[in-house]
Subunit: 152 residues, 4 copies
Amino acid sequence: MEKEIIPVPSSADLAELFVQAHLVKHKAYVPYSNFRVGAALLTSTGKIYSGCNIENASYGLATCAERTALVKAVSEGEHSFEKIAITSDVETGFTGPCGSCRQTLAEFGLDLDVYLVNPKNESKQYKLRELLPIAFTPRDLQKPRTDHDITE
Amino acid sequence: MEKEIIPVPSSADLAELFVQAHLVKHKAYVPYSNFRVGAALLTSTGKIYSGCNIENASYGLATCAERTALVKAVSEGEHSFEKIAITSDVETGFTGPCGSCRQTLAEFGLDLDVYLVNPKNESKQYKLRELLPIAFTPRDLQKPRTDHDITE
Amino acid sequence: MEKEIIPVPSSADLAELFVQAHLVKHKAYVPYSNFRVGAALLTSTGKIYSGCNIENASYGLATCAERTALVKAVSEGEHSFEKIAITSDVETGFTGPCGSCRQTLAEFGLDLDVYLVNPKNESKQYKLRELLPIAFTPRDLQKPRTDHDITE
Amino acid sequence: MEKEIIPVPSSADLAELFVQAHLVKHKAYVPYSNFRVGAALLTSTGKIYSGCNIENASYGLATCAERTALVKAVSEGEHSFEKIAITSDVETGFTGPCGSCRQTLAEFGLDLDVYLVNPKNESKQYKLRELLPIAFTPRDLQKPRTDHDITE
Ligand SMILES: [Zn+2]
Ligand SMILES: [Zn+2]
Ligand SMILES: [Zn+2]
Ligand SMILES: [Zn+2]
């Protein structure tokens, strides 16, 4: 009897994900912060979408690398994600994603593996649910609501 | 010898903070989600600023209650915050703040006490640093950066 | 018989609106751009709400002065606005509001008078509808939609 | 003597741009608004990048179709754009882009041709500078600033 083959991202896949994050970092459009970030997102179907941060003269319209990667993937019909690698130019330690990106990624599931990667290619791994505990998710919008509160 | 008096927010103060969060929830402008949220922010100077969520036909321009409270306070010159109470109409459990709000609050310090309050006035307390571990903060922008990465 | 008195903002009111915009500009929290903006919003009920821009280490979470003023007003129950004055430190010419602010203000009506004010207190006046032609508004979300397009 | 050939987008190119906008609309992730938008952006190098709107349980993190298309292009190294086609499911009239998208596109130039396209493939054309008059652009951040204003 044949053993069922379950595709598991190999370390080769992970290495490729990290490389894509480093490479796309060089596309960052960051005239205001000069802080480059790259991200590469692995879908459940095995594809990689990569994104960089892109700023605007109106600072609030800046988009992060992680969200660029995500919207690229979603606009191609992808809704299921396995891993994301995130890198910047910061030499020491590991730079976490901003809260907006954690929230945006959480829309598609909290089981995502998040790899923080430094320029030397060293990495630390987290689950998205660790980075956004007590997350606000689509389920919160479905929960039963009361018509009055303690002040009424 | 006189004992030094350290002003600690009393439970009366906390009760008032919760009441303000409930009350401002009724100001929510939410024609699209119909999901009302209220937040009340206590400054280190003892003042309370309260905010609700405010939506827009272009969904991405919605602002959350927590950020409304924060910008009100900052625009009055406040930069130091002790506690925030957050409430919605959700009956069961406790609704966490979205990632954008965690990030926006984090700009002014991770020691903030975050109280999730339900319509019955029951609450759960967290530190902001628990809700945004490995936070991206102003210090990240100051860290030494490398000129090249593993791909170069 | 008494003539009905219709309250019209006098030039004194307008002068006060401009002063409030200048004053709140000094509250701007702009460690990243160093570009201070102040805005003062006059409600139909005759109140003035003022706001400054407030930035974040994650640039995309910056909020503009105009939106700070707006959410302050809305969170106090105001939904009808007459005029907004906007000022920055730019010496020459007149600085327009960003597109996000035009959109956020448009939610509450396109008849708003927008005054761009420079540090010398010189001003230029526009209607919001001039600054956001073919605006996307709440009505667009209500329009009849088709089930198929040319590609189907 | 040979006549110099200046590449002009033909009506065939424009037709293709519109088709791409219609097609990507079907990828929209809009569980909250149920309002689908598609956009296709033509670069100066002749490539088309297409994007849809993508929403989030935290409404403020929604991204529009136009911005999805833009960040895809920029993350591939494109900074110069000729035309954008924008379409939704609205049957009658033409739906304009939101202010945030006008601002985000303006970062890369106000000469962009903006085509509003309806499901029947009828269109109206605007210049971005018409849709965002008195635009706030990167140049505004460079202008000389004063150290004091009328209130000082
Ligand atoms: Zn981010
Ligand atoms: Zn929020
Ligand atoms: Zn703005
Ligand atoms: Zn938009």
